[in-house]
């Protein structure tokens, strides 16, 4: 069983499909096979960064924009609501 799924080669995040412990080395397949060391535990279904993503940079999944980094995210770091914000329907941010 794979431990993580990369949906589109353009993506800068992968999705864990089993609970991953911190420090776990995950092989994520794309054009270049890449080994990522998780920085925290990543629960089933959650995302981690495939490379360093700078603050303000877009998060890409399905080859499409799913949000923006609110702080710099390191390779292998958990990517979720603590470091990503939605860019749509933000009545709270007008």
């Amino acid at each position: 069983m794979n431990k993580a799924i990369l949906i589109d080669p353009l993506d800068n995040v992968a999705t864990a499909i089993t609970d991953l412990e911190a420090g776990c080395r995950v092989t994520v397949r794309s054009e270049l096979e890449k080994k990522i060391k998780t920085r925290q535990s990543i629960p089933f279904g959650h995302k981690f960064a495939l490379r360093r993503i700078k603050r303000g940079e877009k998060i890409i999944k399905y080859g499409e924009v799913i949000g923006r980094a609110t702080k710099t995210i390191e390779e292998g770091e958990h990517v979720h609501i603590h470091n990503v914000e939605s860019m749509r329907g933000r009545g709270d941010a007008v």
């Binding site: 069983m1 794979n2 279904g45 499409e64 799913i66 749509r88 329907g89 009545g91 941010a93």
Partner: protein, 390 residues
């Protein structure tokens, strides 16, 4: 789907308006919420009937359009063989207009009024007699074999998590494509949960007018969140716990259940399409309201994907539950018809699960009861402009 084409037929009930039902319900429908209890009393006494209590029917005139269209649409749904409307008598809903519109489909329709008949007991008595006759009459309709082009499939996701977009929705998407290729009709709804995908959907529109309308309906919901100064919140705590971070991410996973066909048009809530193929119906994002809208548009069955696990059914149509989450399938087997979690586990491909869903769909269309039907899940709500999450 790359398999040997099976003889794609199902057994259904032919209706006089040319549509085909996959169920043969006698519906007892209150035209206003004040008639709910009388409708329920009638249904309790007559085997083979189903009551559809709801909260609408006495809105101010400007708010009546959607409830009116919904009552007509639900009653005209091919799964409904006959309709008994129960009116109070003083509601704003024009119950005679509703009954007349349903009569155009040539199915048996009756209307009784509680005030006119003199209260609950008299109305229930008359209703029971009418319903009893209706049940006997419709029981004589023979099931016949029909092509899949007679099917109208609603696709829906509720309680999404990461597996919805990775497993269950892409598998349903293959079924959607197959139904459209066979000349049938597919609905996708929940406009707020299309946000972030409009550029992809617009490219698939049959013409520029449809493409423009796709942008308009999504923008309307987004603007509304902005006008009210709130964060667009159809990303729930359950979605977040399940790994979904933003509405864009949720939407990109959600649209996969509609497959890859051309989009023929954008329908209003509970509007019937005038041709076959894939349609977007403009509905809110919550489950009961969007189910009802698509049933009002004539869908006979709902393919419902759920990562977190939802037990929801519908009163006049079978709901086939598909989960892409192997843990949810184990935990909620009583509610889940199809385990698409095998995709995440690497045991099956999306195509293999798509074939299983298609096979189950054919069985359900020919009468097999889904788990939610067997457990009597008849959740029902009509969209009202206020009091819903968008």
């Amino acid at each position: 789907m790359s398999t040997i084409e099976k003889p794609a037929k199902f057994l259904g009930y032919g209706r006089l308006d040319g549509s085909v039902g996959i169920r043969n319900h006698v519906a007892i429908i209150p035209t206003v919420c004040c008639a709910n209890e009388v409708a329920k009393k009638i249904a309790e006494q007559v085997e083979g009937t189903i009551a559809l209590p709801h909260e609408c029917g006495c809105e101010v005139t400007s708010q009546l359009e959607i409830p009116t269209r919904t009552l007509i649409g639900i009653s005209r749904n091919p799964n409904v063989a006959a309709v008994l409307f129960v009116s109070l008598g003083c509601e704003t809903m024009d119950c005679k207009y509703v009954a007349n519109e349903v009569c155009k489909s040539k199915k048996p329709v009756e209307l009784i009024g509680i005030q006119e008949l003199g209260g609950t007991i008299n109305a229930a008595e008359k209703g029971i007699r009418i319903a009893q006759k209706m049940v006997q009459d419709v029981s004589q309709i023979e099931m016949k074999s029909y092509d899949l082009s007679a099917l109208v499939i609603a696709t829906k996701c509720g309680g999404s998590d990461l597996t919805s977009g990775l497993a269950a929705n892409p598998a349903v998407g293959l079924v959607s494509d197959r139904i459209v290729n066979m000349g049938g009709t597919v609905f996708i709804s929940e406009t707020p949960e299309l946000m972030g995908t409009e550029h992809l959907l617009a490219k698939r529109a049959v013409n520029g007018k449809v493409a423009k309308r796709i942008y308009e309906i999504i923008s309307w919901w987004e603007q509304r969140a902005k006008n009210e100064g709130v964060r667009f919140h159809l990303i729930t705590s359950g979605n977040i716990e399940g790994g979904l971070t933003t509405i864009e991410e949720k939407s990109l996973g959600a649209v996969r259940k509609a497959g890859s066909s051309k989009i023929q048009g954008v329908l209003e809530y509970a509007e019937r399409p005038r041709k076959k193929g894939l349609f977007i119906m403009n509905t809110t994002g919550d489950d009961l309201n969007s189910n009802t809208g698509m049933l009002g548009g004539g869908a006979q069955v709902i393919l419902f994907t759920t990562g977190r696990g939802s037990p929801v059914g519908a009163p006049i149509a079978p709901v086939i539950k598909i989960t892409g989450n192997p843990y949810t399938y184990e935990k909620m087997k009583d509610n889940m018809d199809i385990n698409a979690g095998t995709i995440i586990e690497g045991k099956e491909t999306i195509e293999e699960v798509g074939i299983r869903i298609f096979d189950e769909l054919l069985k359900v269309a020919s009468g097999k009861k889904t788990k939610s039907e067997a457990l009597g899940h008849n959740e029902f709500a009509i969209f009202r402009d206020r009091g819903h999450a968008y």
